[in-house]
């Protein structure tokens, strides 16, 4: 009943262009924000923060970043893990070099450094496309991980070769290191996630987003309307890497606390985030969230049900997870390239017209 456009006429182009044009959607969005900021922090415990909330928030940022490059601009990348590593190492170097500075700014700066690195590795995209570009980003993936492993300066000459996050505060609140509390870490990540989603949504609905989609859909026609292809692609690499760098910085500094680069930011991470946007929906901010939620929750769910409930061995449950994810990737790639977001949209479309579909 409530879910209607009828009677909700758009009287201006501003109203017509807004993110949630239907009143009900808008209210639900405010409700989600209110719960995320006003309710969850009071109830969050270490288990939920570490198993669900922090990875969900951080992967959402990474997925939004990758979606801008792949889903909106059509440039395939397999370097997400390495770009997250750049963010992680950048924030580590900044945290240890300038301990008195607010971690918030370190994370932003780490994103900026990653954006710069992303642009460097995006340069070949003017000449090479599709599969070949994917291979080039794969090279970036292996090169960067190798670099962080091999050059001791990056891990401050620590004996283990690992990096670990010291205690750092944001406006007096401890958010990193072993002593940080779950709610503080959660709030810190939430602010970044909401901020990134806001910026990404605005960029993709305006002229910059149209330029990216134009390049994705038909680069020749994009040029004829005045899109400078190199500039548009590098802009996508920059924005995408900025977000992915922020995700990497948070993943290390707030979520894990200690990182061995090959293990955490290897090629598996690149594929994981890519799978998130394929399952969630290419070219959709909402889809990035949906995909991140799905792939974060799936293993938790399987573990609770199969291992906890039915008493299966852990490794068997892990295999089942692989199979489910693999199957879903194939199904979504073939049947619904726009992912969960599109299924959601179709369901809403039906609901909007219900009960008179014609």
């Amino acid at each position: 009943m409530l879910y209607r456009e009828a009677g909700d006429f758009k009287t201006s182009y501003v109203a017509d262009g807004q993110t949630f044009p239907i009143w009900f959607d808008r209210m639900r969005y405010y409700a989600v924000l209110a719960i995320a900021f006003g309710v969850i922090p009071f109830f969050v415990n270490d288990y939920y923060a570490n198993a669900v909330l922090l990875p969900f928030l951080i992967y959402s940022i990474a997925a939004i970043g990758l979606n801008i490059l792949v889903g909106y601009c059509g440039q395939v990348s397999l370097g997400t893990g390495a770009f997250m590593a750049v963010g992680a190492y950048a924030v580590y170097k900044l945290m240890t070099a300038f301990p008195e500075v607010n971690l918030f700014f370190h994370v932003l700066l780490a994103g900026g450094i990653t954006a710069f690195v992303g642009v460097m590795f995006g340069l070949p995209s003017l000449r090479i496309k599709g599969f070949y570009l994917a291979v080039a980003t794969l090279a970036a993936q292996f090169f960067l991980v190798w670099l962080f492993n091999r050059v001791p300066w990056f891990y401050n000459y620590s004996a283990s070769g690992q990096i670990s996050a010291p205690d750092r505060t944001v406006f007096g609140m401890l958010v990193s290191g072993p002593n940080a509390e779950a709610w503080a870490k959660y709030m810190f990540c939430l602010v970044f996630t909401v901020g990134v989603a806001f910026l990404a949504r605005n960029l993709t609905r305006g002229m910059q987003g149209r330029q990216w989609m134009a390049i994705r859909d038909m680069d020749i026609a994009a040029e004829i309307i005045g899109v400078n292809p190199l500039r548009a692609k590098l802009m996508a690499f920059a924005v995408s890497s900025f977000f992915i760098g922020i995700a990497g910085a948070l993943f290390f500094a707030v979520y894990l606390g200690a990182v061995e680069v090959g293990e955490v930011f290897g090629i598996n991470k690149s594929f994981l985030v890519l799978f998130m946007i394929i399952i969630g929906g290419l070219g959709s901010i909402f889809g990035s969230f949906a995909g991140a939620a799905f792939l974060v929750l799936l293993p938790v769910l399987l573990k609770n049900v199969l291992v906890g409930g039915l008493g299966w061995p852990t490794d068997l449950a892990a295999h089942v997870e692989f199979m489910i994810v693999g199957l879903l990737i194939i199904v979504f790639l073939i049947a619904e390239p726009h992912g969960l977001a599109q299924l959601w949209r179709v369901a809403k479309e039906k609901l909007r017209l219900w009960p008179f579909p014609h």
Binding site: S12, Y13, G17, L199, G206, Q208, M213, I225, N228
Partner: protein
């Protein structure tokens, strides 16, 4: 009007429209693809406010000529003059910034975007807000979006595509796609509009609609148009002056009547069957 006419002079058409000085001039253009000569030493001009047609049999080099104008092909020889200045070699996106818009023989729309977004892309060169302003949205970017949306809505009204505004382009039939592509080009408010076979593959009714739109664009906005067309009837009705090409050479240039009575043209083009 004839070849001796001064570039600064205009002329008055039979139906009483005033045509201005030369807007674009192609001088001795030669374009080769390996051994294939697509264009051989062709010169012609396009004047402000006129509808200029390029006709010729398949493979005559017509599309290649438009591609030279819009910067996709760089001619081996010859000069392109625009608004009284010699144009240096340019990329297509730079040509777009000069106020030259076009459509393609094979539709080149952004299939994953809605009609509205496709037409909005035509406003690119009129929108100045940077990355940061767009990311923040409120204020400058939003105001700019709304102002340009108004222009786009006028184009949408003009081409009578209001009903499909929010439809993804991939779902549209061929004739409507052609119209959306024209809308995108018009949204740029170009000073020169290039149309490569705007009526190809259309039925009679769609052709009539499209002819009307082309005439109205020229009439209401004074837009200079250069179009390629196969249908002789359409060309004769629409255009003020016609360039005739055959095997990459120019074999005729003048008003439709002059071209029709030109023996070389009759032999090469009008005499032979074409699709």
């Amino acid at each position: 009007m004839n070849a001796q006419m001064h570039p600064q002079d205009g002329y008055t058409t039979a139906d009483g429209r005033n045509i201005g000085p030369v807007l674009m001039e192609m001088r001795n253009i030669t374009l080769r693809f390996g051994g294939v000569k697509a264009i051989t030493d062709i010169s012609f001009d396009i004047r402000e406010g006129e509808i200029r047609a390029i006709i010729g049999p398949n493979g005559a080099g017509k599309s290649s000529m438009l591609n030279v104008i819009s910067g996709f092909y760089v001619p081996q020889d010859g000069e392109v003059w625009y608004k009284g200045q010699k144009r240096p070699p340019m990329k297509p996106f730079q040509v777009a910034r000069l106020g030259i818009a076009r459509t393609f023989q094979n539709i080149a729309l952004f299939e994953g975007m809605t009609v509205l977004d496709n037409v909005m892309t035509g406003r690119l060169n009129h929108m100045k807000s940077g990355l940061i302003a767009q990311a923040i949205w409120k204020g400058r970017a939003e105001a700019e979006e709304v102002a340009n949306r108004e222009v786009v809505e006028k184009v949408i009204d003009f081409l009578e595509i209001q009903a499909i505004r929010k439809t993804p382009v991939a779902r549209l039939p061929y004739g409507l796609k052609k119209r959306v592509e024209l809308a995108r080009a018009l949204a740029a408010e170009p000073s020169l509009l290039l149309l490569d076979e705007p009526m190809a593959g259309m039925n009679v009714e769609e052709k009539e609609d499209m002819s009307r739109f082309i005439l109205d664009v020229n009439d209401e906005f004074g837009t200079t148009i250069c179009l390629i067309e196969h249908d002789m009837g359409v060309v004769m009705d629409l255009s003020d002056r016609v360039v005739v090409m055959d095997y990459g050479k120019k074999i005729g240039d003048g008003t439709p009547d002059e071209v029709r009575s030109n023996q070389a043209v009759i032999d090469a083009y009008l005499g032979v069957a074409h699709d």
